[in-house]
Symmetry: C3
């Protein structure tokens, strides 16, 4: 039984990863070939030659202008995936075309649509505008996770783990101690989880980047758009400093922590992470510190979740977890994801019956 | 179909392996967490947090006094496995408790009971008293075996293999040549296999440790208590020297070779080995020699059995082995083990039916 | 469902690989032990002791004269596989014998018959006489392939891939451009594929070995004897030089490229390759060059086919390839192989029904 939601947009790559070279990434179990045309547009097509399914990303496959030439027998495809040449004959079979994927470049990401391409145009792509916007400086990376995507969703929806798994980086006792509020927008399919700490220790991650000494008011406002995009609006200010009734909140420091959670397979995930800030924009020291710190934090999660994946795989069926208040957001996310998987299955059912 | 006997005591560790650190070992497919309380008692509980099944042996999980704190979200458990604290709320759910295992420290081992804990008190733990007794000096170790436990049982029940696999260490031609006698105590469930060599070459293992020059009378008396404990009573004396009718057998050298055969999974085994002697008690040279020699012998078995495991896994079903006289003890052991597995299955059947 | 044809001869080794040491190779999923008797004859028997299936090729198993002694318990077998000694008793069970394989040494190969031994005598072994014949010099090797044999058959039946995968070695544009002719001898079960290039660039492989400068007439005449033997008769001459109506074709250079395609398992293959030439017979420089070049070419195939194996294993069932004219020979080979597999299944069916 799949846990992957189809008929949705997924982040396949950062725009900077796709250039005039053949680049392959597996998204939701589908091997997809990406490259940029001479005009600079990103293409996305199946990474399997129609002839003998040789991966088009595999050497000696290569680009020639706006075509890709298979390294096995020379089948040649245009940027739309249509085959334009085959060996040993001049006639190209009409059915010789690679599956092409709807693709959009936005907010520094390359998004691809997984599922029925006809639904792409009517399916929203959620936004993370800070990542490519004036007034913000962003650090980012991607770590491969040998764990199913739902374990990363669980992890990010319940930040009480910061206190234990990320102590010394972003965790302090107050994160685990402070209760959360959770809201679910069933129609828009967004889960909101908020934790507002009025008077908390300032973890090194924020102390060194903002320069605040002493205790802080720390707000964590999560906004999860299943399946792929997770936003954490983080507000840091000296203890007691709240947003003004009117005008800009310029006594506070704002950090937008963004994750794109893209299943590679049923049991592995591309863990894209970004940290955008509205302060110290040109301070390379802060940039380097946040990049290194956040990568360390992500790798702490990767170690833990890779272990958990093995645990879950080895577990007997019908294993019963115990959930408490902090899990409200994570459980809501699971519920939405399960409903979306089921919808996909229902839509595909008539096809399967034929 | 499982080959693991349940409702039995198994050696999980040497007592020396369990200290004031979190220690995990998988026994019969169950991941068990061991640690010593401040008072020095060994605890045994499930190595999976009840919340999101994070292994409690995994960093940054840690001990705080007589509690263990989960490194993911901070669930905290006492030495009885009962949860005493959870994040974000003061109420601890009543069902939040780890499975606790009956545990006994005896004869240098940590024994755990695998199965229905209510049967632990009425199930005997077999003894190997020499391992922690005055008048005996013991060397010991544990080697991980990537093979099912039954292959190690086969190996140890038929010592004719010493001649071939352990030539130059403990094997001489007489071991393979001398017939065995086998007895089975069906009620007590013990298999006895004896091989008494009246006039045999003395292998290096015994020549160097006892100082005997020339030929020996060598007795091997096996006593196997399925599933876990294997005892080899080994008597070495100059050729022709038999035990006296009365009084101590002090012209002979006695060695108690003990194995604890603990399934880790269906296809891997903890191979605990010990050699206790009643001579040269304080001779460090003899101690070092026996430790090194026996470890070498065990590793020769490990190499052979790891190969055999792969052979058996790759074999077609209904493969027919050919057995001869030397296999009588091994076949009896298999029969007892199969009966014990079947009993366990029968007892669990009504539960499975509900 | 197996893809391995039974009741056929397969190349198990080069004759030079089998000497007075125990040598094991898995052929069509069967582990076979090879060694040479003191008289120099090759023996082939099951590599599993009948007692506890210890591999007879595994140390400390060893040869004693014309017998092999199992390293686990000392079961001893003659060159016909019959057991001649067991431990602990003088009587040897009558059924104690290893499966013996029909074996023939021919054309530098050790051929074994996989299937019902009674069919061996009436089943032809195809010939590759140049490999051990005066007037020819041969280089050869074997590369392990982590891919099913049929992927190597596909590869070799369609040489248009030389242009792309082996450019700079044996590929030029003309190979992919020139149409092929295909013939199938249904009765003899041979597939012929020919590509005659009248005026082609000379690839480095032939330019450096023959010394020809300028363009060439290049003939590729494939003769595939499924399942195991593939012959490529390659004729190279200066452009326009055709064979004379009468007399020897001594204005041309002849190369016999031979592959033996032996399944190791359903998903791995022994890729034996040989290049025999009728020129520069004693030129060590040419010998070294052809050996190194052809090994490089074979390894390019190995890399590609190992990737393809993973692709095919990960593919959904009912995957549809697209085939074109160049695939005619490969498709014919697949059809013959499938028919031969089906025959084997039909012959075995009555046995399975009993």
């Amino acid at each position: 039984m799949t846990s992957i939601v189809r008929d949705q947009w997924y982040v396949a790559a950062y725009g900077r990863e796709v250039a005039r070279e053949l680049f392959s990434r597996t998204v939701c179990g589908e091997s997809i070939l990406f490259w940029r045309t001479e005009a600079g547009d990103v293409t996305a097509m199946s990474d399997r030659c129609v002839h003998r399914r040789f991966p088009l990303s595999q050497e000696p496959s290569h680009l020639v202008g706006d075509t890709v030439v298979c390294g096995y027998h020379g089948f040649t495809y245009g940027s739309d995936g249509v085959c334009v040449a085959v060996p040993g004959q001049t006639r190209v079979p009409r059915t010789a075309r690679l599956k092409a994927y709807p693709v959009v470049e936005q907010d520094s990401f390359v998004w691809v649509f997984i599922g029925d391409p006809d639904r792409a145009a009517t399916t929203d792509i959620p936004r993370a505008p800070w990542l490519a916007q004036d007034g913000w400086t962003t650090v980012s990376g991607m770590e491969p996770l040998a764990a199913r995507a739902s374990l990363l969703v669980d992890n990010l929806m319940d930040l009480s783990h910061e206190t234990y798994l990320h102590g010394g980086y972003i965790g302090t006792p107050e994160v685990a101690e402070t209760p959360i509020t959770t809201e679910v927008d069933e129609e828009a399919r967004v889960v909101y989880v908020s934790r507002h700490m009025a008077d908390a220790a300032c973890p090194p991650f924020y102390a060194r980047s903002t320069g605040i000494e002493g205790r802080i008011t720390r707000w964590q406002d999560i906004e999860y758009h299943p399946p792929c995009l997770y936003l954490l609006h983080s507000r840091i200010a000296p203890a007691g400093v709240l947003p003004p009734e009117e005008g800009p909140d310029d006594q506070a420091f704002h950090v937008e922590v963004v994750y794109a959670i893209t299943p590679e397979t049923e049991h592995s995930t591309h863990d894209f992470w970004m940290v955008a800030r509205d302060f110290a924009l040109d301070d390379q020291g802060v940039t380097d510190f946040l990049a290194e710190s956040n990568r360390t934090v992500v790798l702490q999660d990767v170690v833990a979740l890779d272990v958990l994946e093995k645990v879950v795989e080895g577990e007997k069926e019908n294993y019963q977890e115990l959930s408490i208040n902090i899990d409200t957001g994570g459980l809501a996310a699971r519920r939405l994801l399960a409903a979306m998987v089921e919808e996909g299955a229902a839509e595909q059912a008539p096809v399967a019956v034929r």
